[in-house]
Structure formats: structure tokens, C-alpha cells
Symmetry: C2
Amino acid sequence: MGRMKQSKLFTKTRKDAPKDEVSKNAQLLLRAGYVHKEMAGVYSYLPLGFKVLKNIEAIVRDEMNMLGGQEGILSSLQDPDIWKKTGRWDGEADEVWLKTKLANDSELGLAFSHEEPWARVLSEHVSSYRDLPLYTYHFAPKFRNELRAKSGLMRGREFLMKDLYSFTKNEDDLNTFYEDVRVAYENIFRRVGIGNNTYFTYSSGGIFSKWSHEFQCVSDAGEDTIYIDTEKRIAINKEIYTDEVIQETGLEKDRLIEAKAIEVGNIFKLGTKYAEALGLTYKDEEGNENPVVMGSYGIGIGRLLGTVAEILSDEKGIVWPESIAPFKYHLVELSGGDEAVKERADALYQQMVERGIEVLYDDRDAHAGEKFADSDLMGIPYRIVVGKNSVGGVLEVVRRSTGETLSMSYDEVLGS
Amino acid sequence: MGRMKQSKLFTKTRKDAPKDEVSKNAQLLLRAGYVHKEMAGVYSYLPLGFKVLKNIEAIVRDEMNMLGGQEGILSSLQDPDIWKKTGRWDGEADEVWLKTKLANDSELGLAFSHEEPWARVLSEHVSSYRDLPLYTYHFAPKFRNELRAKSGLMRGREFLMKDLYSFTKNEDDLNTFYEDVRVAYENIFRRVGIGNNTYFTYSSGGIFSKWSHEFQCVSDAGEDTIYIDTEKRIAINKEIYTDEVIQETGLEKDRLIEAKAIEVGNIFKLGTKYAEALGLTYKDEEGNENPVVMGSYGIGIGRLLGTVAEILSDEKGIVWPESIAPFKYHLVELSGGDEAVKERADALYQQMVERGIEVLYDDRDAHAGEKFADSDLMGIPYRIVVGKNSVGGVLEVVRRSTGETLSMSYDEVLGS
């Protein structure tokens, strides 16, 4: 579906977002018809939003495959047994779970993460050092019992997440892969258009490692506070912002700038905790059994979509980067009832379709003002207008991000 | 990921399926490493199974797009309000729901179907007869509180479903589209390899229409019983198998053959029930408000995968049709330590990779018997063996489905 006539698209834009929607990203996405709000913290994707989601997914998948990741998809329904083994079924963890019950009264969980199930799967397939290292990932829904859910797509009770897991023989191999993932994540955030705003950020670690790391995208809508060295492109999360940490990370206090930010990714060294609890071991070269060393690497795909909408937008609407836009071109016909103009626009659309160019064709019987307002709100990167004043041979193409008008030949557009 | 070295694939085959697994499809898929069983009725997809799932999804998506379907994805968490309006939250419906609770104690459901949420979404976008007809679909997980779950991938507590919904002005438009879907479904079952075994089957209807229709695939593992006219390729479900129905469907009792069958798809005319309950109306040419007429059309993607594994398999393992196989070729190297042979196999793999040919390369250091048994179990359509006796210029290619050996030139393989 690289092309579509807007008269056939079932979603409509609307002037106002629902009154209970306070977050800018959700307001814009709702008004432009990209998403539907099912309830607080739960959004459905309508055709345009679905296309953006899939485009982001494709970029993330590409980077995961280049890391050697093997894709699958694990279930949402979770067996309590494996979570009890790691101590994440009851107690503190209970606050985050959404749980459900079968007819026979046995309790199940809805996955809020997937360390335990992946470790169990691997325990059935890994036995020797020859099997390692290996990396698995999936795009799977996550469910969390959030108390507050007021940040639109940025904090959901249900959301799509890409989670990657590494399984290595030892800490050295983990550290090597961890650095590879850091680079892949930087590629992803650059490719979806927020690379300049996103910082590698020290955050609280766990039993195994001193720190974990987040990728924090600067935005007033963020729920986190970070301290940034803009030159080194490194930051520290407020949670661990102490003189000691500043020193240990090699940063200087008076060069750090405070900012609100959205956590768009995180990477953790997990050590052997999960492997030990779930019997995930391998035999080394000497024949000894060792627990596998794990790492986990997450990116919320819906949150990333929301972050781009939040950051790359202006008073008129969304400004999608070309890499993830639902279409590259928005072809707008302004015939005002003039059949010759309509035919010219129809013909151009047909030519674009034949060449496989991504285009949304606004063929609706509507006023110019309405069409332009919708186009700005929807945020497709290049707008081509075919109207009464369009001169043959040259197309006026407006770039959404800057508003500048480019004069392009048919060949330039059709060759793209 | 159109190619892979088997030494890198994290899944291993196994001789025996878990003892509690009684269904043939799940036994085969578990033994071949395609899926992991999380619990009764809940399966996760590992890399090979994930590839088959995505191949089936691509075929279904292609047919949905040709029908004019617009793809999105609605949430799993469900707002009780819309289901209360149609009477499907409590009472009888309660048996099928898996429900959960938020921290604030409010109850939510996990989608067992999506008529209500799609009708609500559409009620925000449809207002005029000019907006209709329109068709929406998604691939979304479904959750059901199944009492029994012993048929492997064929009856799940969590499963991926493609559901398509039609929204039309009147019954005539519904009937026209219903016939189009019937053809699309026949295409799908043919394309995934079970067309010959699958019958258009009359089944019980509802308030609105006398009958609904199922697509039933003949198999001893089926949970349904149908009566088939093999010539007309039409069947009647036992549930409604009466003299009256036989007569009304134009069939003849003594031509009908009883068989067990798996329901791989179903199509329903819903009428205006959901639209009326959820305020989904349109203004007609005369300015009158009318409820939208709906239809719903489902295919369980996981069940379809399980059905193919159940039906297209022999005593050695699975026999995937080329259209949905994880790879087209299984390249098996039998060097037995002979470096020259190994190099020849490596070179062929490299050439196949460069041409974008789908190939799994068994480069493992293992005995011929083990490699052949794994290959038969995994069921990739064409096996190419490179061993000591392989003569230069000619490749021996064994077709999994028939066991016949084809002599093919390198060019024939590389050109494919």
C-alpha cells in the first residue's frame, strides 16, 4: 500500500483533540487520524499510524539483523512458574503486572517484559559453548499496570516493544556486544530523525553492573531529567546524579546542562541472575557447566513514534522525516471543478503509482484551505499541488519541514 | 533474513516431543524447533516458525489489500463499556473472556474478537453515504478462556488472527463483498497449499442471516464434522445438518460424505446489530440517518500454520509448500572433513546468498544421517547435497514432497 486516494482513506482529520487528551503527541496523532484512543494509556493504530509504526519497525529490524539478532515472537500470556523462580511474580513486581485467570482458576500474567520466557526457551536449545554467543529479539506487545497514563503514546498500559536479548559465555563477550548495540541504537535514533536530540545516558544499574544506559531524547514533554555534556553527547540521569558519579563517568559538573527528556531506549547488563534461576547453562571447553551471561536491550516502538510526533511538529501539525513518513509525497489536486486540471492530477498520480512512488493523493472534492490544513497536519514530507495555475512541465513541490517551494520537473519527481 | 547458516540458528531439533503434547501439528513443530510451548494452548514462535507465520501473513495481507482492505492494529486491552452495549461483556460471553484489573480496580478485557472496537473507531470517521463501503482489517492477537486446549496450534488461549470487517450502506453491498471475500479466502487456502482439502461450508447463522460460512479443511485432527459434496466443493456443518438444510442448500443427501475437519476460516453477515448498539450510522442521499451494515471475516493465522503442518507432513516430518516454507532450499554439506568439498559447498552458499535465493545452509559438523533426518523433519522444499560424490556442474536436488531426485545445473538453481 505505497499509494492511496484520500477519498478512499477511512480516517478523517479533526479540528480538536478529545478534551481529556493533554499530551501533544497524542493530540496531533488523534487529530490527524493516525491513532484511536481506546482508553487512557491504550491506543490503536489506524492506517496512517500503522504505516509509520511499520516503517519504524523496519528500521529497527534492519539494525537488529545486522547485529546478528534472530527474530521470533513470544507469547503475551505468561506462566507464573518462571517468574516465581526469579522473584518477579509477587511483592514489588506485583505493582507492574496485569494478571488474569483461566476457567480452572489458575492465574496467568500479561508480559511486562520477556527476560524469563526467553531464558527458558534458550535453556532448551543451548548446551555447549559452541552455541554461544547468540542474540534473539522480537516485537511483542507489553502490558503494564501504570497508575498514571497521561503522556499519550509515551507511557502506555499496552504498547509494542522491540526487545533484544544477548546470551554470551562471559562478561567480555557481553561487553563487546553491548557496545555494538549502543552503535546500532544510535543508528536507529538517527534514522528515525531524532539523532541530534538523543543522548547516551548513564542510569542506575543493578546487582550485576554499576550502571545501565538509556537513550534520552530532549523534550519538555519528557518525564525524566538528565544532565548533558552536549559536546561529548553523554548525559547522566537525575536518579544517579551525584558528584561521585560525575567524576566516575569522566564528566565535569560545570559543563552539564539540565534538561527534561524522554527515554526512547535502554540497555542493561543482566549477568547470570536469570540464567541461574532458570537453568540456562552451557558446558565450557573443559566440560564444566556455567550459567549463561545475559543482556537486554529495549526500544518502545509506539513510544518512539510518539516521541517523533512530539518533537518533529510545529503549530500546523506533524513533520515526519522521510524515513518513516506514511508516504513521501502528498499530491493535492485543486481543480475547483475544472476537468482538465483534474485529469492532469489523475494522470500524474497514475504515473507515480506505476513507478512505485509512495504517494497519498488528495482527490477529495474540498476547498484549498481545508486540503492544505489537512496536509500540514498529516505531515507528509513533500506536497505537490496541481491547480489551475500549474504550468506544464514544472511541478511546485513544498517541503513540509521548511515550507520552501522547490520547482521540480516531472522527471525529477517520477525518477525519485 | 532470506538465508542462514544452520550452525548459527539457535534452535535445535529433538527426537521426541514433550509427553503432554498429544497433537501431531504441535509435536512436529516442537520437534523441528519451529515453536515453543509456553503452556497448554499458548505457543511462541521461534525463528523458523516465525518465518512461516510471516509468509502466511504476507499471502493473507496481499489478498486483503486486493479486496480494498485498510490495515491497522487495534489494542488487546478492551474497554468494557462498548461490550456492555452489545451484551457481550457478561452472561454467556463471560465464559470466553480473559479479564484483568487495573490498579484503580477497574476491569478490562483481553480481546477475543474486535467487532465492537472497530465499530466504535468507525463511528468517529463515518458520517455520510459517501464514506461507504469500506473495509478494515488487522492481524491482532486474540485471547480466549478455552477449557480444553489439546489440539496444538489449532485451539489456542492466545493466537494471532486476521480479522476483516466490512461496513456497507445496505445488504446488497454486503452480499456483493461477501462473495468477493469467499473468492479471496479460496485463493488464500490454495496459496498456502490446502486448497484441495478445504470446503466452503454452511454453518449456523445468527439473528441477521440464516447461515454463516466456514472454510473447513478435511483432517482427522479436526474438531468439527462436516458433510461434503466433493464435486460441488460445498459442505454442511453437522451443527445444522438436517433434511431441511440439505434441501435449502441445493445438495443431495446421498452424495454427501461425512468427514472430520478443521475450521480454517469463517465469514459472517452481522447486519446492523453492532452499528446500532455503538452509534455507527451514516446519512443517506435523502439526509436520513441509517445504521451501517457490517460483516466480519476471520482467519486464525497460527491455526492455519498448524493445519498445514498437520496435513502436509509424513512419518519423517513436515512438508512445507514452497509458498510458505521458511526457506526454498536446504543446502546440506557432507564434506566429512574434506576441505575441498567444504569449500565447494561454501562457495555455492555464497553464490545463492548473492542472488537473494532463500537458503538454509547446513554447515554443521555432523553425520549425514543426522543432517538428513533434521532436513526431513524441518521440511524445506528442496534439498541440495554437496558431498564427495557430487560431480562438478550438476547438483542433485531432492524434492521433499515426493522424494524424487532432480539433476539441476548450477545455472538452474542460481537462476531460480
